[in-house]
Symmetry: C2
Subunit: 364 residues, 2 copies
């Protein structure tokens, strides 16, 4: 996608051809800074400290982190140690281990002196694959947006929650990929951006990437979507997902469920965009997803920029008050109009998902 007119991916080899450039997302939207990773340790820190986030981008960073390790020592002892180190940075991120296992399997059959070259080529391939998948999601979703706008004759209002944009992937994003595809095709699309407390991924990341690409958007408090739907100001909702169960139940950022309820109550279509890598056919339903409880500090404190341009964290609650921070909720499949995947729009039902992704269900 574009930043200040330049095409950019969230991760790419540096100018020297071997180091790795990422965007430090902890500083967005206030500071845009490209960070150059040159060692395995730097890659581990980038994942652990959430300079990069979003399942696909975490996987890509792990793959390139392994490249940096292989370049220094192509022996398998070093490769295994590097995999272990990278794997420990975000223990719950499924894509991370998937990317590492994938890289490791490829390197196994390669002679040591060629491993670095093959590793870089394979990491680049994983990134290109992510881009292609997201592109396909974008095309499938853009058709829905075009339809909502009567083929471009009317402005379309899309509501999204959290950040499932290009910053969460290598490029294009998942939930926002249809928005970019529609916008680039000349459809008049406007996005209601849920602020997305805690952590404010909507206000900080979604708003930033939409503004850089020039897509009209308006940030709203998470409380607002229901009212907008009641007043007919939302044509469709598109959100991402961290994990989708075999029956189509969707685990996503906390608050997704509330928007799905409002969409149902107001007959607004509610779509979930997902690369099939987040479909977990081994998970019968969403009730089995362990909901991560994060630091209460993300609720009690908010980070932003002060009038002097300095990034600061302020406490919004009384010092004596406890806070709880559940990171995800589960949206029942009955509230989901459709799943936008790289193989088209699929019903949020076990049998439909099985038909679209038989290889995922083969082992179940």
């Amino acid at each position: 996608m574009k930043v200040d007119g330049n095409h950019l991916r969230t991760i790419a080899p540096g100018a020297d051809g071997w180091s790795v450039d990422i965007i430090d997302q902890t500083k967005l939207p206030h500071v845009f800074e490209i960070k150059n990773l040159r060692t395995l340790d730097q890659a581990c820190r980038a994942i652990r400290d959430m300079l990069v986030r979003g399942a696909p981008l975490i996987g890509a960073t792990a793959a390139y982190g392994l490249c940096l390790a292989v370049r220094e020592d192509p022996g398998f002892e070093a490769i295994d140690a590097a995999c272990e180190k990278l794997s420990a940075t975000r223990p719950t991120a499924v894509n991370l281990n998937w990317a590492l296992a994938n890289m490791r399997a490829v390197l196994r059959d390669v002679e040591p002196h060629r491993r670095a070259e093959v590793a870089y080529r394979h990491a680049a391939g994983l990134c290109d694959e992510d881009v292609a998948v997201n592109r396909a999601i974008g095309e499938a979703g853009a058709a829905l947006i075009a339809e909502a706008g009567r083929g471009g004759r009317e402005m379309v209002n899309v509501l999204t929650h959290c950040n499932a944009g290009w910053l969460a992937t290598v490029d294009w994003g998942t939930a926002l990929s249809p928005v970019y595809a529609a916008h680039d095709a000349g459809i008049d699309v406007h996005v209601w951006v849920d602020e997305t407390r805690p952590r404010n991924q909507g206000a900080a990341l979604t708003a930033w990437e939409l503004s850089r690409h020039g897509v009209p958007h308006t940030v709203i408090a998470d409380n607002t979507g229901g009212h907008l739907m009641q007043r007919g100001q939302v044509d469709l909702c598109i959100v991402g997902t961290d994990r989708t169960a075999a029956n189509g139940e969707v685990c996503n950022k906390i608050g997704t469920y509330l928007k799905a309820l409002a969409a149902r109550d107001n007959r607004v279509p509610f779509y979930v965009a997902l690369p099939s890598s987040t479909l977990d056919a081994a998970l019968a339903d969403g009730d089995q997803v362990p909901i991560e409880e994060r630091d209460a500090g993300e609720v009690t404190h908010v980070t932003g920029v002060d009038p002097g341009g300095e990034v600061r964290s302020v406490r919004v609650t009384p010092a004596q008050s406890a806070a709880a921070n559940y990171a995800f909720d589960v949206t029942p499949a009955r509230l989901v109009t459709g799943l936008i995947t790289e193989r088209g729009v699929v019903e949020a039902k076990r049998e439909s998902l099985r038909a679209a992704f038989p290889e995922k269900y083969a082992a179940q």
Copy 2:
């Protein structure tokens, strides 16, 4: 209610007997400051800039604001001008106009030189009435909490949105009055406090007043309530209302509707506590309520206290991104389990409300 062991009302005549003391609620929870109002303009500013907020307290402040005006000029031209000025401060607040009409009607039959004295006496009477009404709401609602906890044998989790506590009224509150009554009666009650963006009235005010009174509570992001209800961690919801239509539809802080939807989806009782002064029998349904759009700065900026103890406002969105700030939404009566009023729990239906408050419907 109590602050640091001292009993306090949110509004009361100052030590001089004619000026008016209020709590500057914009500074809570970080600074507790009593502000002394001495002119009509100061009273208008206090309402408009939300130093005082909450329907009943806005009404009380308007009444005392009129006293300050009458004290300077008891002529009816001045009284009408003052009413108009006060009325314009918060267009959605029905109590404001109710209090002003009430005061105006009383002053009509009084000779000019006695109007100030009568105005102050009547404003004090309105305040005492508010306290008595809220007390009655507390008793009716505490019975529901006791019932949810099997008569005190089990802990009860109440979820509330925004601040409808004693800070929103003269004393006791509306939605929180049942909580205080139950807590004071020895029932083990815990409150999930919605942060309530924008403006954070939950994190700032509800958490503060509950902590001062010693009621166990936990602050959560507004996105969280649905998940808690799905997991059985909410026994009942109690919220306040700024305006209730003749058919029982409830206009309250933005986001209330989303919690009502989640309550319905999970069979959690959803109660709205209201003094009958917020019941607007002339309003057929909630669709007719004009929804106040407030400054986008309340969405783009968050105020809190920095580690050095200084109150600061930080921007959480990119500078280029627009934001929208709708202050209220309307919860359909079908989602409301019951209305907790000073005359007991009433069904959210036109005929039930008419039976409970015939005088309100007489003119319709």
